[in-house]
């Protein structure tokens, strides 16, 4: 079976790192930034060999799966209708230095990924690739034997989409660990104990359990 094409929106540190992992796993990869494709052509060609640069409109049309790797304060610049019926992986995080402090991105009512799902109302959003730092993503992928690889945490509401993302995570070189509904993704956000953590499966399960208990209090 041919692998689905992954379209990464964002050509910064995270977008480039995820592009590298996807190429290593032999996925067709396209990358887009906010401007014209030429602006990032050389960057993509050299840093992610085998991937191609597109405008975001072009990329959204041809890619099977979209990964959001733009600043959290910027995703609303993307036309949500273009993403209709697509699987959208939300890898974004809140950084106050980049996103500012005047907007609410997550609160007790709605986690950041639930807000992303609300905005892309006709797409299916799965949260993944946000909690491991971009250089750990590259350094830790496929590290060691398959059993003691690092765990990568996934949250989402749609079983079929979760399965798809689990396959991608496994191909990229991590053990997929489903933490349940999209709203559970709050435990992976900036400032939470699991944020920035790149851990083995058992330790991750332990921390997920504790973190979920914490938010249900």
């Amino acid at each position: 079976m041919t692998k689905p094409m992954i379209g990464i929106l964002g050509a910064g540190k995270l977008g480039i790192s995820l592009g590298q992992l996807a190429r290593q796993a032999d996925y067709p990869v396209g990358i887009a930034a906010s401007g014209p494709a030429e602006k990032i052509e050389l960057t993509v060609e050299i840093l992610v060999p085998g991937a191609k640069a597109y405008t975001s409109e072009e990329l959204i049309q041809i890619a099977d799966i979209i990964i959001l790797a733009v600043p959290l304060s910027k995703y609303q610049q993307i036309d949500s209708l273009l993403l209709q019926d697509k699987l959208v992986i939300d890898a974004m995080n809140y950084w106050w230095e980049v996103d500012g402090t005047d907007q609410v991105f997550s609160d007790k009512e709605l986690s950041s990924s639930e807000r992303v799902q609300q905005y892309f109302e006709k797409s299916i959003v799965v949260k993944a690739f946000n909690h491991i730092g971009y250089h750990d993503l590259v350094d830790h992928a496929k590290q060691g034997t398959k059993e003691n690889r690092k765990a990568l945490l996934i949250a989402g509401d749609d079983k079929k989409s979760i399965d798809q993302v689990e396959k991608i995570v496994d191909d990229f070189g991590f053990i997929p660990l489903n933490i349940g509904q999209l709203k559970n993704g709050v435990i992976l956000e900036t400032g939470r104990p699991l944020f920035g953590a790149s851990l083995g499966l058992e330790e991750s399960k332990e921390m997920v359990k504790r973190s979920l208990e914490e938010i249900r209090k």
Binding site: L42, T43, Y94, D139, T190
Partner: protein, 347 residues
Amino acid sequence: MDVNQLKFGLDTFGDVAVDHSGKQISYEESIRNIAKEGQLAEEVGVDVFALGEHHRKEYSISSPEIILAALASVTERITLGTAVTVLSSDDPIRLYQRFATLNALSNGRSQVMIGRGSFTESFELFGYDLKDYNELFEEKVALFDKLVKGGPVTSNGRFTPHLENMEVYPKMTEKKLDVQVGVGGTPESVVRAARYGYPLMLAIIGGNPIRFKPYIELYKQSAKKFGNPIQPVGMHSHGVIAETDEEAIERAWKYIVPAMNKIGLERGWGPMSREAFENEIENGSFYVGSPETVAKRMAKVIKEMGIERFDLVYGINGQRQEERFQTIELFGKEVIPRVKEILKEGN
């Protein structure tokens, strides 16, 4: 690689040292000590001494050029630089004037490295919006570049004054200012450095440095595309050097890790594990150990990356003054000659 052309630098953010009880010494004492550290760096054969501009409690350097000016009059050979100067929140005309002055006092030994730096306090402090970072940088670097090239300046920007054929003094008639660009991991910044035709310094503060190798290729290819000469590329990373590995590792655990964790807390990630720390020393971006251990790792990285300059960031989290001096002394007297020796053997 021409080993004799390799440059070795020591960089500090100006972390205020601690006394024997662990208490921070005064800012004044820290600033005077940093000037002494620059002198020592020259004495032990280091090529570049570079100071980072910061506006935070734990650092004493917000005006690096003034310390460098003091050093200009008591040193003869060492390059006096910054790592980095936050151009986006600075005044490019004043910046030019400060460095033109430093260049005169040091007989052409000054160097300015422009970049965003690790922190963002300067934006709020000087009344800029971080959201304008790219525009601020583009506009100011364009003006600064014109000033460095010399001649009357015409410029009309959003954040800088409207200038029509304006002369800015003093002129640099003997030697042009050495301008470098310091970047973290953002590809766009690498391309920008190539577009301006300035040498590139990569700040590599975590993880396997080799993953940055493609960035060097990106820099070179971009320079070619823009029709600019391919300038040297260097890197900087944190380190602690002591007589023995054990001593250095203990010191690094005591100082580097809490400093990283403090930043982590502000930015939202968790504390560094012992495993991650040891990984950074083995294969990552902490150069920690005896002179022999550090020299071996440094030589390996220099060779694999194909870089032409390596700066060690010393004194993170303050440390005791004698510990700061020790890293400088061992770096200059033992590590640098040993790295060159290893690289020559390998050629």
